[in-house]
Amino acid sequence: MSSVHAARTRALEAAGAEPRRWAARRERLVPYGFVLPLFAVFVAFYLWPALNTIASSLFEWGLLNPWELQASGEWDFVGLGNYGELLGSERFWNAVLNTAVWLVLFPLLIVGVSLAVSILIWFARLGRVAFRTVFVLPMTISLAAAGVIWSFVYNPDFGVLSALVERLGLDGSLDLGFIHFEGGNWLSDPGVIDLGVAELRLVNLSLIVAGFWAFTGFGVITLTAGLTTMSQDLIDAATVDGARPRQIVRYVIIPQLRGPLVVVGVISVIFALRTFDIVWVMTRGGPAQDSEVLAVLLWKQAFAFLDSPQAGLATAVAVLLAALLVALAYPVLRGLRRERR
């Protein structure tokens, strides 16, 4: 009896083993099925074009040419020639300088002002939500719309800024030797700061202020989240010990906000480096090339003169831009991750 039972069990097991192995194999493939749709789109519309950008930066080519590497007449292999040409061109260095102004001022403004605003809002008990909404609101506005709005603010004839400056009697020009300032021409030619080695064009400042207005909300949200998770005990202890508000901010609050501050800093650096929309809408990189940043230079080189074979130069700018971003953002993000552990 028992041997019959055992045999039956064995037979059943043998019959079941085959489907079970199939089931196990299917089971192993399930995760790939879940990831595949997103990954396929990622490969086709991100990885592949990105690799194309890197490869085509080694060629001299134009966008109207056929997209086939076999058409060798349209594709001149120049090795690192595009990079060499860029590094030797004045226009490239002009764009680098303007981008550098963004890279320094934009994160400083964002971090400084959003820190001040979120701490002030945190201390204010009444009207917290209302104040926070005011500063977060511009974050939902597209940079294109923000650019349009700020063009109104900067309008020399009926903009509020020009009117204010005039009312206060601050219009007219100012000459301090190395600084030259022309009130009223906020977007045309507000002046320069001569640093000896390079001239910083003040029109960049007008654009940075507009971007800063649109982006500060991100800093306020992030730092507010940091403040709400902050331990209240330390602040109470410091208060009991007779610490003054300024000391509490300096020695208790800011050290605890290190993580969120780094996040805001890194993201605004990333944003500053790829900035395009605000500049495009407000000045198209002008007047002349006074506010042309790297992203705008790239766009003009690739798409503004479609028939001239400058797309190779543009892809080289793209590669340099991406490399710079990764180099700047990666160490900070790594450091942050290590700190969290």
């Binding site: 990831v35 749709p37 990622f42 609101l137 349009v148 109104f152």
Partner: protein, 278 residues
């Protein structure tokens, strides 16, 4: 009351500073709003000048008739298609990253996350010829094309925001559904529980796509462009049509703003899901 705010002078300083800063912060929005509801001649005297002010909505109807309606429709089409694609592919992938074990999991996750840091410029230039090659550069196919690029570019943010929500679902609940297929567990158990995360990502992605200028400017033909490109085209100090442009700007701002206002809670929660979980 915070113990610090007890000092009256300090409270006064805090509220004073915040009030002044808030007023300054609202000036650009007030400028756009006032410009959009007053005739052009009045705007030229300064929008803050309220002598004999007339209120009008004709700027809006003028803007709407001058082509803004098409831009807005395009914006909605592009944003909805992109969010639908990103979300459906994104929830599947995020589920796998959160709850399944498989080879290349970490590598593929990392690869997807790079889309959050690497600038869009790295893919921008070859996209146009690439679209020509695969037939996405003509007619309504352009909508699909740009939606696919937005999906690829939103991939990192999608898994970054959604994965923690899927990981949060307690194991016991999933175990209780043992025996059901992965797809069933996913659809009936996990998806409903992770709904807040899905809604927040959908909102963030919608705002992100709606506000995009660079991709649309580069990839789309004249009749397929969204409202951001429309604004960039209209914006020129020489055209002297501030009335139309300001009305257009306000209309372009409204959809994301309304989404934000209605679903504020979801929005903020989504932004922090990644950070809190880290």
């Amino acid at each position: 009351m915070t113990s610090l705010a007890r000092s009256r002078r300090l409270a006064l300083a805090i509220y004073g500073t915040l009030t002044v800063a808030s007023i300054v912060w609202l000036v650009p929005v007030a400028t756009a709003l006032m410009t959009s509801v007053r005739p052009l001649e009045e705007i030229r005297r300064g929008w803050w000048n309220l002598d004999g002010a007339t209120f009008t909505l004709s700027n809006y109807s003028k803007a709407w008739e001058q082509g803004l309606s098409e831009y807005v429709v395009n914006s909605f089409l592009i944003a909805l298609a992109s969010v639908a694609l990103t979300l459906s592919a994104g929830v599947l992938a995020a589920y796998a990253f959160a709850r399944l074990r498989f080879r290349f999991r970490r590598v593929s996750y990392f690869l997807l996350l790079t889309t959050m840091i690497v600038p869009v410029q790295i893919i921008l230039i070859p996209l146009l010829p690439w679209f020509k090659t695969i037939g996405l550069s003509e007619g309504a196919w352009q909508y699909l094309g740009i939606a696919l690029v937005h999906t690829a570019f939103g991939a990192g943010l999608a898994v970054f925001i959604l994965t923690p929500f899927f990981a949060e679902v307690p194991d016991e609940i999933v175990d209780a559904a043992r025996g059901a297929s992965h797809l069933d567990v996913f659809r009936r158990v996990i998806l409903p529980l992770a709904l807040p995360g899905i809604v927040s990502f959908a909102i963030i992605d919608f705002v992100f796509v709606w506000n995009d200028l660079l991709l649309a400017l580069t990839l789309l033909g004249r009749d397929y462009q969204p409202v951001t490109v429309g604004l960039a085209n209209l914006q020129s100090p020489h055209l002297a049509q501030e009335d139309v442009v300001s009305a257009g700007a306000i209309m372009a701002i409204l959809p994301p703003l309304l989404l934000f206002a209605v679903l504020n809670r979801f929005y903020v929660r989504g932004l922090f899901a990644g950070g809190v979980k880290g």
